[in-house]
Homo-oligomer: 217 residues x 2
Amino acid sequence: MTDTLPITERTRLRRGHKRGDFNRETINAILDAMPMCHIGYVLDGSPQVMPTFQWREGNHVYWHASSAGRGIGAAGNQDVCMTVSLLDGLVLARSAMHHSANFRSVMIFGKPTKITDPDEKAQKLGNLIDALYPGRNALLRPMTAQENKATAVLSLPIEEASAKIRSGGPVDDDEDYSLPIWAGVVPVKMQLLPVEADPRNLDGVEIPDHIQDIKIG
Amino acid sequence: MTDTLPITERTRLRRGHKRGDFNRETINAILDAMPMCHIGYVLDGSPQVMPTFQWREGNHVYWHASSAGRGIGAAGNQDVCMTVSLLDGLVLARSAMHHSANFRSVMIFGKPTKITDPDEKAQKLGNLIDALYPGRNALLRPMTAQENKATAVLSLPIEEASAKIRSGGPVDDDEDYSLPIWAGVVPVKMQLLPVEADPRNLDGVEIPDHIQDIKIG
């Protein structure tokens, strides 16, 4: 079993190919660092880019949506592109041309599969909760049959995928280093702020430990 | 002149329509809060979602790319969808179903125009620098003709667009409020960290004021 994905016409990087990475561990680490993703699909001939949450299990990514949403119908048996991006910094150089951004991103291409078995769907939706908040799903009010029916779960194999990463400081043209222009990086980080408890929480209900286990960024 | 955009087949919200907003001020505020965007286009029949930076001037958004990149050719005279998303919080409810995220997002549909006049292009690329770092462009080494040629600038009118926003705490089913389950919000915020100066900056070159003017989030 190889840990490196094959390069395809869709995942081959035309630009900045030195920043491309087809290693499964690199791809997985980016997917695991950022639940928010953007899913592109074609609806009536027109591209649509929808923000939603993804979670990973092994070599598949999953997302969910309302069964009545318009993206679900279009996604069945049609190609999608899931992109996950983290902005890590603003890179200021000595010329406009060499300004850049530090980032980590993954693109995954393929035809998603809709999970139709209710038990499997319930399991997957529990995994979504636990991916964000480890152990939380077991503490929740169980899902009803109606909720299960109202929710669609889609899966996509991580087979045709690539990562792209930029890190580090500005890279200027040799002759520009003699200019008295400030260059550097402004790092950017997604931070979790102190929790805001629901005022309707029952007396004595404590903040659960899984709040400390949230990992984003 | 109206400040509210017309609702089209592409921008009409099927799900969560109470969260939709077609007001230009709402849309502009989201675009101005987050330079990172995801652009969806169709290439060889397959959707592609590319992360890049956008900036706004009046009722248009702009982005740039390498003239040799594959997205540029596909974008000319073809529909794109630009989506800008900010994650504002994780919403933990008493049932899996009512878990959610607080967010602000904008989708813009249309056919982008490529800016071909070199002077206009140079002006726009300067505006990109100044949109992120007000006043910085005038301090930089001027753009060369070759750099100008190597860079494509695309513009899209903000005419067919919508915003979608969720904020506030969890909204649970009435009967679930009696359960001893902690619910609440974990706010999420993109933070700028202390700058990392390029070690090759000349002695005496100070951090410019425009670093203090960066606004993200």
